[in-house]
């Protein structure tokens, strides 16, 4: 009952990941001689902290956001990728190879495999908010869009996502270019100041995707920081008034990356399962389930053109504008700033 039986036995692979992956179970099991057990997780930080707390012997695979992979590497929780086993890796967009080289490589070994991705900007209700030059300023200046949005703005309830938006708004884009995000203390202070002031015009901070959609549809706010996949989901379900903005300062991109536990007794089989995540057909299915594109462009073959418009085909040029999630250099300072913003 409960917790699962540990990463040892037979050819069972235990996976800690997001809800949508569970839909791949039947196909993976028919493609490979394996039983996969999915355990739903709702955040990368939880995947990380539970592995950190010893769950790494219970799970073979986790699929956190890219910025958590270096942390797991640092904590010595993950095993290197046998590139032969993960045959689909080569097919990924170049951009992801670059990202992986930058972030997931240590001592010549690769530790994570990008699976799917998406990006954040903001979205707005096009019925009430006029078109405007898309910029993060829309989140910080109530009149920026040409209509007063005081009290109708929403930010992510996540220090990294929310503070990054503020940093980009303040023009600290350079800080996002290295291995890690490197905001100086004074930049963090400015971000904090800006966000504390922003609190007056905010309607609130919001947890994550579905509640964003629910709240947006309910009319609680007009414009909010959001991921593209949420808006795609709304479109797919017939709500056409939201508009996704691509801010001129750049979008923050996330990509989920699969890792395999160092303690797994079935590493090879585990990597074979990971390989399935980015296989063209299964990757397409995952994209559909999560309204987010796969890192493998070959998935487009298995999607309709309409689907490809929304989340299948992404122009490589757009990928180049994206700023990938990264670990931050002085996370404590970020967190303290965030706490001060929240309790201001």
């Amino acid at each position: 009952i409960g917790g699962g039986g540990g990463g040892g036995g037979g050819n069972t692979i235990n996976i800690l990941t997001w809800e949508e992956y569970a839909g791949l179970k039947d196909e993976i099991e028919s493609n490979l001689d394996v039983t996969v057990e999915f355990t739903k997780s709702t955040s990368s930080s939880k995947m990380f902290s539970s592995w950190q707390a010893g769950k790494d012997s219970q799970y073979d695979i986790a699929v956190p956001n890219n910025n958590y992979v270096p942390k797991m590497m640092e904590a010595d929780l993950v095993a290197p990728v046998p590139e032969d086993t993960v045959g689909n890796y080569d097919a990924l967009y170049d951009q992801f190879h670059q990202f992986a080289d930058q972030q997931f490589t240590s001592g010549g070994d690769l530790y994570g495999v990008p699976v799917r991705f998406g990006w954040y900007g903001y979205s707005y209700n096009s019925e009430n908010v006029p078109d405007h030059e898309e910029s993060y300023a829309a989140l910080f200046e109530p009149e920026y869009t040409g209509t007063d949005l005081s009290g109708s703005l929403i930010m992510y309830d996540n220090h990294f996502k929310a503070m990054s938006a503020a940093a980009l708004y303040l023009g600290y884009g350079d800080a996002f270019s290295g291995d890690k995000v490197t905001l100086s203390q004074s930049q963090i202070d400015d971000v904090k100041q800006t966000m504390v002031e922003q609190k007056d015009i905010l309607q609130g901070y919001i947890a994550a995707d579905p509640s964003y959609i629910k709240s947006f549809k309910q009319g609680n706010f007009e414009l909010g920081q959001s991921g593209r996949n949420e808006i795609v989901e709304m479109w797919t379900n017939g709500t056409d008034w939201p508009k996704m903005a691509t801010p001129k300062e750049g979008s923050l991109a996330w990509f989920e990356s699969a890792v395999v536990s160092k303690k797994s007794e079935n590493k090879d089989l585990a990597w074979q399962v990971v390989n399935q995540f980015i296989a063209p057909k299964l990757g397409a299915k995952l994209a559909q389930a999560g309204y987010s594109p796969s890192c493998n462009p070959n998935t487009q073959e298995h999607l309709t053109s309409e689907q490809n418009d929304m989340y299948g085909a992404i122009k490589p040029s757009r990928l180049e504008d994206m700023i990938p999630f990264k670990s931050v250099e002085n996370e404590d300072a970020w967190l303290s700033a965030w706490e001060e913003i929240k309790s201001a």
């Binding site: 930080s45 202070d189 309607q203 609130g204 919001i206």
Partner: protein, 309 residues
């Protein structure tokens, strides 16, 4: 035959277990003492210890060099300590917990008074209606208020629909009011039952005695009922104040991220960073608050009076 003798000796053993004072005590209290020591005292003591230690990047506790730096970190910031997030959250938590306690008291007293003074058929129904929310999951109750509040929640949309207001009332959005309402709803039954237990023990002929001697209804309440229910008021207060102080779910749902109570602050640090050193130090303030609250309470009531619930 053999089963007969063995059952007899089992019986003898059981009887024997109550022969001496020492064995009686160890049989009855032993197991719970072990449990409480291992699962309450030890963890709390360990937490106290951790609050004086540091945790390295690999999330290992660094033993051997006690430090006050975690406590320092709580109050460190650019500005004076009262501007730090921790201090602000702490104060806010005290404030919301205090308001919650007072509202619970004000709301519960009339109902408890009626329940204690009026018997009969309606009594059972009312008790049922009061107990049901009490037994209903905390999370469900917090959630039900999550539906009620919000810029377009049930309250606002109803007001809009009825034409009472023309645009959503900010007061009924998420925020401190919503949190207080949620907390009152969550912990109200503790206060009610505590007061009820205490009022039910009152000899109401004392109220009549006060009236007979020339006291008005208000006098009787003030001079007799309130002093005599003081233990109930205090233990009810304790049972509302302490958990409100450390509330997490309610402010999480009903604060929409703009309000940060101490529980959320700790949770954030633990789940995002596994910062158990910082979390432990911060938790100490809740633990100390409980100790102080208990010590204050014990000046007016005895431990038995806390047995209301």
């Amino acid at each position: 035959m053999s089963s007969e003798t063995s059952s007899r000796s089992l019986r003898q053993q059981l009887l024997g277990a109550f022969e001496t004072r020492r064995s009686r005590l160890s049989v009855t209290l032993g197991p719970s003492v072990v449990w409480l020591v291992l699962l309450l005292l030890a963890p709390i003591m360990f937490m106290v210890t951790v609050s004086f230690l540091q945790v390295n990047d690999a999330y290992q506790i660094i033993w051997g060099s006690p430090t006050l730096s975690n406590y320092g970190a709580l109050f460190a910031g650019d500005g004076p300590f009262w501007e730090t997030a921790f201090f602000q959250s702490l104060i806010l938590s005290y404030k919301l917990a205090a308001v919650t306690t007072v509202l619970c008291l004000v709301g519960a007293f009339p109902l408890a008074y009626l329940l204690a003074t009026r018997g009969g058929r309606t009594f059972k129904v009312v008790i049922f209606l009061v107990l049901l929310p009490f037994f209903t999951m905390y999370l469900v109750r917090a959630y039900s208020w999550y539906l009620m509040f919000g810029p377009h929640g049930v309250i606002n949309s109803t007001l809009l629909k009825l034409g009472v207001v023309s645009s959503p009332v900010a007061l009924f959005g998420y925020g401190q009011l919503a949190i207080v309402v949620g907390l009152v709803h969550a912990y109200f039954p503790y206060m009610l039952l505590s007061l009820y237990a205490s009022l039910d023990g009152i000899d109401f002929s004392l109220v009549e005695a006060a009236r007979d001697l020339g006291g008005s209804r208000i006098d009787a309440l003030k001079d007799v009922v309130v002093p005599l229910t003081l233990p109930g008021i205090i233990s009810g207060g304790l049972f509302v104040f302490v958990p409100s102080l450390g509330a997490f779910i309610t402010p999480k749902f009903l604060g929409q991220g703009k309000v940060q109570m101490i529980g959320q602050l700790i949770e954030l640090r633990i789940t995002s960073q596994y910062a158990i050193d910082y979390g432990s130090a911060a938790s100490m303030f809740i633990v100390i608050s409980i100790v102080v609250a208990f010590l204050l309470a014990f000046r007016y009531v005895s431990v038995e009076d806390l047995g209301g619930i």
